[in-house]
């Protein structure tokens, strides 16, 4: 079996076995195994199938971007899709299967697609969908063939905590440079957090011969907080970094960020470079050292740097026979490692390449590799065939610079290094280690310390910053790509993109990095280009005759690595507001609805009646008796000071300086463009004091805006938001006065307390503000009082009103009643473009005021032809349109219905609608298109359907 003897730094617990299934077969792994390591340890060769051609695949990088090795787990309480097997820890009871297969992973029927690769050229999707007639057929086929994993729709909604955290220095990456940076910063007294995506910090220290002291030092330092198994998924403004672990997202706000994420080892491109057991050197070393898994007995190493030799020696020391080193460079290494390999009988070929890998007879791995000379970036004739069962690749890296790009780092291509490195870093962001072009262990350690000193200096510490570190290693080979007439030399394994696909794309004109990416889908698979972008860039550069710097790179947007949607959603806080009378409504059987963030009674349920009947009954009771509604959700604002009137005149389109104390007036608020944004009643309760209401949903916004304007205008007045501190009810109906008279000492005659009169008095013993308003079209009073005393008023009115037929009414009855009066609801009968002219609110406009918000726009609008106007409609027939159904004339849209309802009182279906100005004539018949396409007729009428003379607000003679 591939599991070898105990390794010094292995991450597995040999004492704890875990049973699991893969593709229906039972296996045993060890605690600490990833799914991949456990399967490999059991001798499983083919872990997955590729996306397009369904080729057998196994480990490539073993670094969180083995994008083909994605699995489904049916072993939990619900089926979990798209698990990254290379990094996800094995759990007992897992029932795993490879995604994207037809049949089992060893006998994938779709592998036949590989034979038709000629007919699946680059840009195939675009080309297929180009013919409109075949669109649906292609769509059906693609949907059947593509897509990774199956979403279990019965999966529960998982709520995850979100955490805010803070630090002086966030070090992203816990390798040699990152740990060096962390220790240096911590030793300077800074609060340091190290985040590392691996099970344990240390990076390549864990699987190479590098000293381990940094790991121990970092762990022992109390100023360093280490977060393992987590990754920084993006960079946002002001050093805001989401850190994703298995349970949650932590929103880290760092004063400085040190990016020490290292570099992604890159694959070499040659024919059949995707066969199982062809992997990066790092993947092989991690499997051997951390998981004690040896997947190959005899390996060939294709290298282009010293790390390749050192890695080969490390693998050899673990028992892997290194049959040959294929060095793509002009000169082979003469290092000690090279000598050790030679001594062990390893053949070293310089200026050579792997021309192709041969698949074994069981089609699950490598049989041999064919070697050719490699001169001037071209392969010559095959000069040898070497038997092996695995290939280790060490031809170079791509910097893990995603965060740096997102932070707006200016990167430059260092020709000597063969890598993009930071040229200009943004404020408070620093880079070190491989991502900064430093590769030797010593240089990485120095570079980490340097980054920490820079961060400390940025934070105001008086430290001496060391000299920049100069790297002499050249780890990146400029052209690790070998052409082959049969293709299957994969540049992007996620998407099965071959070298020829790039050539064809460029030939078709997609010769810009951004266009090429989208057309070819290079880098658009689950690994997001981590193993393919660099080679893709090289290919494009060669094909267009440009240098890498000129080709440029694409920027991976946050989150550059996949994040569970549950982590993003977190707990999904949905704040809601309840009025002080909520418990009363519950007792009365209210059916609640959402009104913005508020919970309001829609109606009060009666088991014997339908919803519609309940609402009708509530409305009729207001016409006949007395109804009570909780309007505590209205915005309630107080403004005091000698400039209070002036302030209101600037805010609202009407005048208020002339409003008498004890009187109220309707108010319309517009924005700067003259669009109606809010309405309410403005009550003058003192010489320098007004109390006014806003609509329910706008209260917070309006208060914020008024506060801003008050600060800006510097008027002598102060604004107080009483929305939450005050409650309010509306008592309405012909018997409302009689009822109110029982609980207050006020003279309630129309003369003493006229329509739109305002009084402050005691109601039910509670000091309250009364407004004689008529929103619902019957005699009525708004009663505003401190929230903690509202229940007292409600309870007493309900008790005393029993004999008068008092009943509560909800939002729906209120909507109907106000519609009968033609009173508009802002946001329902208006939209984001409605002016007072269009909403029939011209009566409130006082253009002779020197200024009010929106005046200038309204002056301009007034000179232009009106687009439409709000009018009343009566539906002819029994079929009611829906709100938003369109008004149509000669096939053209002329307007829309904004409110509509059946009025039992009027025995009609009535509504409000926008129509063209020329349609707005009493008695005119308009056409409304129902949702089902049927056209119905409606008659234009004056929008005050009920009590048009407002007699209900007058005292009977």
């Amino acid at each position: 079996m591939p599991r070898i003897s105990k390794q010094n730094n292995e991450w597995i617990n040999r004492n704890k076995k875990l049973s699991f299934e893969f593709e229906g077969k039972k296996y045993e792994g060890l605690e600490g195994d990833t799914i991949t390591s456990a399967l490999l340890a059991n001798g499983v060769k083919v872990l997955a199938r590729s996306f397009k051609y369904h080729r057998p695949r196994s480990v490539l990088t073993f670094s969180n971007h083995d994008a083909n090795i994605i699995m489904q787990d049916d072993g939990g309480s619900f089926s979990m899709a798209n698990i990254r097997a290379d990094v996800v820890a094995l759990k007992a009871g897992m029932k795993l299967s490879a995604v994207n297969t037809f049949g089992d992973v060893n006998h994938d029927k779709a592998s036949i697609l590989g034979n038709f690769s000629k007919f699946l050229p680059v840009g195939f999707y675009y080309k297929a969908f180009h013919t409109k007639a075949l669109f649906m057929q292609w769509e059906k086929m693609f949907r059947a063939l593509t897509g990774l994993g199956k979403v279990d729709l019965s999966a529960p909604r998982v709520r995850t905590p979100k955490k805010y955290d803070f630090c002086d220095v966030l070090v992203v990456g816990g390798g040699a440079s990152g740990l060096s940076a962390a220790i240096t910063a911590a030793d300077l007294g800074l609060d340091v957090v190290v985040v590392d995506e691996n099970q344990k910090i240390g990076g390549s220290i864990n699987y190479t011969n590098s000293p381990r002291d940094l790991i121990e030092k970092a762990k022992a330092n109390s100023k360093i907080r280490i977060i393992e198994n987590a990754y920084a998924s993006g960079y946002y403004a002001d050093n805001w970094i989401p850190i994703i672990d298995k349970d949650k997202m932590t929103k880290m706000r760092a004063k400085t960020v040190i990016v020490a994420q290292g570099a992604f080892e890159q694959p070499c491109v040659f024919h059949n470079n995707d066969l199982p057991n062809i992997m990066t050197m790092g993947a092989g070393l991690k499997l051997l050292n951390l998981y004690a898994v040896q997947t190959m007995k005899t390996a060939v190493c294709v290298v282009a740097n010293e790390y390749g030799y050192e890695g080969a020696v490390l693998a050899m020391d673990k028992g892997v026979k290194i049959a040959a080193i294929i060095d793509m460079r002009d000169e082979a290494s003469n290092s000690l490692a090279a000598q050790r390999l030679k001594d062990a009988g390893t053949k070293i070929y310089a200026k050579s390449c792997i021309y192709e890998a041969e698949i074994n007879s069981s089609k699950d791995g490598v049989k041999s590799v064919k070697i050719a000379n490699f001169i001037a970036n071209k392969a010559g004739n095959v000069k040898a065939e070497i038997e092996c069962d695995g290939v280790l690749m060490a031809i170079g890296y791509a910097p893990a610079a995603n965060l740096l790009y997102q932070a707006n780092t200016k990167m430059t291509f260092d020709e000597e290094m063969g890598q993009f490195v930071p040229e200009v870093l943004p404020k408070a962001v620093f880079a070190c280690g491989k991502v900064n072009g430093k590769y030797s262990y010593e240089n990485r350690v120095k570079d980490g310390a340097l980054a920490a000193l820079k961060a400390a200096k940025f934070l105001g510490q008086n430290v001496e910053v060391l000299a920049e570190v100069k790297e002499t290693l050249k780890p990146n080979f400029a052209w690790p790509i070998v052409e082959h007439p049969k293709g299957k030399n994969f540049v992007d394994m996620d998407e099965d993109l071959q070298l020829k696909d790039f050539k064809n794309a460029v030939q078709e004109g997609f010769d810009n990095i951004e266009l090429l990416k989208r057309y070819s889908t290079n880098g658009m698979g689950p690994s997001q280009g981590k193993h393919s972008n660099m080679n893709g860039l090289r290919v494009l550069g060669k094909l267009t005759g440009k240098k890498p710097q000129e080709v440029g790179t694409t920027t991976a947007r946050p989150n550059y690595h996949p994040v569970f949607l549950s982590h993003m959603a977190g707990r999904s806080f949905s704040p809601e507001r309840l009025t002080p009378l909520h418990s009363r409504h519950e007792k009365l059987g209210a059916v609640f609805m959402n009104a913005g963030v508020w919970k309001r009674p829609e109606y009060y349920a009666n088991k014997a009646l339908s919803r519609k009947e309940c609402i009708e009954q509530e409305a009729m009771n207001i016409h006949n008796n007395v109804g009570i509604i909780d309007v505590g959700t209205l915005g309630k604002i107080e403004i005091s000071g000698k400039d209070a009137g002036e302030f209101l005149e600037r805010i609202y389109i009407s005048k208020y300086k002339d409003l008498k104390v004890g009187r109220g007036r309707y108010g319309i608020m517009c924005d700067e463009t003259g669009v109606v944004i809010d309405d309410g009643i403005i009550a003058r309760i003192g010489e320098d004091k007004f109390y006014f209401t806003t609509t329910t949903s706008n209260a917070a916004t309006i208060y914020r805006e008024l506060s801003r304007l008050n600060t800006m205008w510097k008027l002598d007045c102060g604004i107080v938001n009483l929305t939450g501190a005050m409650g309010a009810i509306n008592l309405a109906g012909p018997k409302s006065r009689e009822l109110l008279a029982q609980v207050c000492d006020l003279d309630l005659s129309a003369k003493a307390f006229p329509f739109m009169g305002v009084k402050i008095t005691k109601v039910c013993g509670v000091e309250a503000r009364l407004i004689r308003a008529g929103f619902v079209g019957e005699w009525g009073y708004e009663i505003h009082a401190p929230a903690n005393e509202m229940a007292k008023i409600w309870d007493e009115l309900m008790e005393r009103g029993k004999g008068m037929g008092i009943a509560p009414f909800g939002v729906e009855a209120q909507r109907l009643l106000r519609l009968q009066k033609g009173h508009i609801i802002i946001g329902q009968d208006t939209d984001g473009l409605t002016t007072p002219y269009e909403a029939n609110l011209g009566f409130a406009l006082k253009m002779d005021k020197p200024f009010f918000i929106g005046k200038r726009s309204l002056q301009i609008i007034a000179k232009k032809p009106q687009r439409h106007i709000l009018c009343g409609i009566e539906i002819i027939g029994n079929e009611a349109p829906k709100e938003c159904n369109l008004v149509i004339e000669n096939g053209e849209i002329k307007g829309r219905v904004t409110s509509v309802s059946y009025s039992k009182k009027l025995n009609k279906i009535i509504g409000l609608a926008y129509v063209a100005p020329e349609q707005n004539k009493d008695g005119n018949i308009i056409k409304i298109k129902l949702s089902n396409g049927t056209m119905i007729d409606a008659k234009i009428v004056t929008p005050t359907f009920y009590d048009p003379s407002h007699n209900n607000q007058k005292e009977a003679a």
């Binding site: 704040p575 507001r577 009025t579 002080p580 418990s583 102060g718 501190a725 929230a787 903690n788 229940a791």
Partner: protein
């Protein structure tokens, strides 16, 4: 006008929600004490005229017997305690505007206080010294709050003042998170 509360705004009824009394997290509803608010350019003059000691630093507080005198900004104050009941009956002056406060007030403490705060608020409370009685206006679980960090029986404790209409949601959400933290690990 009455400024004392018979019932908590958490329910506005006789129903009392269960408190959380745990070493890790303690969450208590202490909404019933009277509150008084004043704002405006002459609010300082008014309070000083009435002999009320006021915090000299913005966004800080003074604790005077049972009274918590919080300075919310340059010229806005919230007073929680018996003093509030006296002040509401005082006449205001020009440029000083009475603010009716009916806020819910929750008291949060425990060994896991900071863990809790890290899950409900974007402010780094660790940066503040409870001895200095910092008053921070922020948002927690989507609700605007006035917070006061102080020492109670030698332990860091925080008071959270929230709009009463949000308080049912606020308390329920904090309770859920608190219970989750208590049972975690």
């Amino acid at each position: 006008m009455s400024y004392t509360f018979d019932v908590s705004p958490l329910t506005y009824s006789s129903k009392v929600l269960p408190e959380i009394n745990n070493e890790k997290i303690s969450l208590k509803d202490i909404s019933l004490s009277p509150k008084y608010g004043i704002k405006g350019k002459n609010s300082i003059a008014l309070l000083e005229g009435l002999g009320v000691a006021i915090p000299t630093e913005y966004n800080s507080a003074i604790i005077d017997n049972d009274n918590f005198i919080m300075r919310l900004g340059t010229t806005e104050f919230l007073i929680d305690g018996s003093l509030a009941e006296k002040l509401v009956n005082e006449q205001t002056i020009d440029g000083a505007y009475f603010v009716l406060h009916q806020d819910a007030c929750l008291e949060l403490s425990g060994t896991k206080l900071n863990d809790m705060l890290q899950e409900i608020c974007a402010v780094n409370f660790k940066e503040f010294d409870a001895q200095k009685l910092p008053v921070i206006l922020t948002s927690m679980v989507g609700v605007g709050v006035v917070t006061l960090l102080y020492k109670k029986d030698g332990k860091d404790t925080i008071r959270l003042y929230a709009d009463p209409t949000y308080s049912a949601y606020f308390y329920k959400t904090l309770s859920q998170i608190a219970n989750e933290i208590i049972t975690r690990e």
